[in-house]
Amino acid sequence: MQVALADDGQTEHLDLEGLIACPVCDALHNLHPVPVGEIARCHRCHSTLMAPRASAMTQIVMLAASALILMVAAVFFPFLDLSAAGFSQESSVIDAITAFSDGLLFPLSFAVAALIVVLPAIRLAAILYVLGPMMIGERPARHAIPAFRLAEALKPWSMAEIFVVGVAVALVKIGGMAQVHVGPAFWAFVALVVITALKDTFMCRLTVWKTLEERSQS
């Protein structure tokens, strides 16, 4: 698609398909294929435009799948084991979320469940749904485009890593009241956080969008 644009009297012809605008600062760039392993930065604000990596799709799918499995373990396995004055209590995340829904704890456990379990799980599932078929060279699945936009929009609201720090602080606070033993679910959560962070560094947003577009047309 050719567009004639007048810029102070001079007319240039720009091929819109070969252009990319920096989402951060709106600067226009000519986009050539970026070699694997290199990072293309905006020449104005220096934010990363593209950073494609070798077999990134496969790695992301594998990491997202492992994170999703760990999420199931993190939710249903025992999380913390507390004992105080002869009482002992073992709870999983799902027990903690469902067991106490009195008064103010209800909106709070609802929000916590959404931020640490539901939204991260939806995000991982959406990434698998979008990148799974692309990994094996298939056409993108139906609704892959809104699914990837959802995955991107959920990124700031997936707070599993913040929860892990919260647990560490809570353990220090409980220290005076009770003996605490961390269960397998806690370590599942820690592994999940590390894997998700690794996956996010592999994922180049603009490369995924470009691949989605190319594959949907072919």
Binding site: D7, L28, H46, F148, I162, G166, K173, W209, E213
Partner: protein, 216 residues
């Protein structure tokens, strides 16, 4: 580096932006469209040269966040009952208690997440929103970094909300010890969510537009 900037040949103009070229760029995927397009053809996101009413939405969420932050500091975050004796802790009270137990590092973490980050975030967002209208003392790159830091670090304020949720879900030993969340836990969670929405409403391209106008 395989992405070239479009230099305007022989002109003193600094940088060609999509808006200056009469085009509309997608802020989600970077695809460039002819002016007047309303949906991105690559990712189907609504297209706007600049997010409509960005600053109004920033200020609306900012104010909502500030209003929710006030009760979060006044009312108790945590009610702890041990052997029938109840103690209430505000955010700052919780930090002081941690310090009395000698857990200075954890106290520092909670203080940063619950006091320094939220306050710093209110100031930073307000500064960014004002600076796009007036000449700013900070360089444009510094302001962009400030915005990235606000977006990256703001979510971490949720730590204390998670701490309260974990404690009140786990510490339930009937008469011996039980922990219940206070009103502040909910209003603090809302305050963090509102300020996150405020930061997300801010169109970072406005920072760079202000810079462009300065140079003209």
């Amino acid at each position: 580096m395989q992405v070239d900037g479009l230099e305007n040949t022989g002109r003193a103009q600094p940088i060609l932006t999509a808006r200056r070229a009469g085009l509309v760029a997608c802020s989600v995927c970077g695809k460039v469209h002819a002016a007047g397009s309303d949906r991105c053809r690559r990712c189907h996101a609504p297209l706007h040269s600049r997010a409509p009413a960005s600053l109004q939405r920033v200020w609306a969420w900012w104010l909502a966040g500030l209003v929710a932050y006030i009760p979060a500091n006044i009312y108790p975050m945590l009610r702890t009952a041990t052997f029938g004796h109840e103690t209430k802790n505000t955010i700052v009270g919780g930090v002081i208690e941690l310090m009395q137990h000698g857990s200075y590092f954890v106290a520092g973490v909670v203080f940063s997440a619950s006091v320094m980050i939220p306050v710093g975030k209110f100031i930073a967002i307000a500064y960014l929103a004002i600076s796009v209208r007036y000449v700013s003392a900070l360089r444009v790159h510094t302001r962009q970094h400030l915005y990235e830091v606000v977006e990256f670090i703001g979510r971490w304020s949720m730590i204390d909300v998670f701490v309260v949720a974990i404690l009140s879900a786990l510490v339930q030993f009937k008469f011996v010890a039980s922990v219940h969340p206070g009103v502040a836990a909910v209003s603090f969670a809302l305050s963090v969510a509102f300020t996150m929405l405020s930061a997300q409403s801010f169109d970072s391209r406005l920072i760079w537009d202000a810079d462009e106008e300065d140079q003209e």
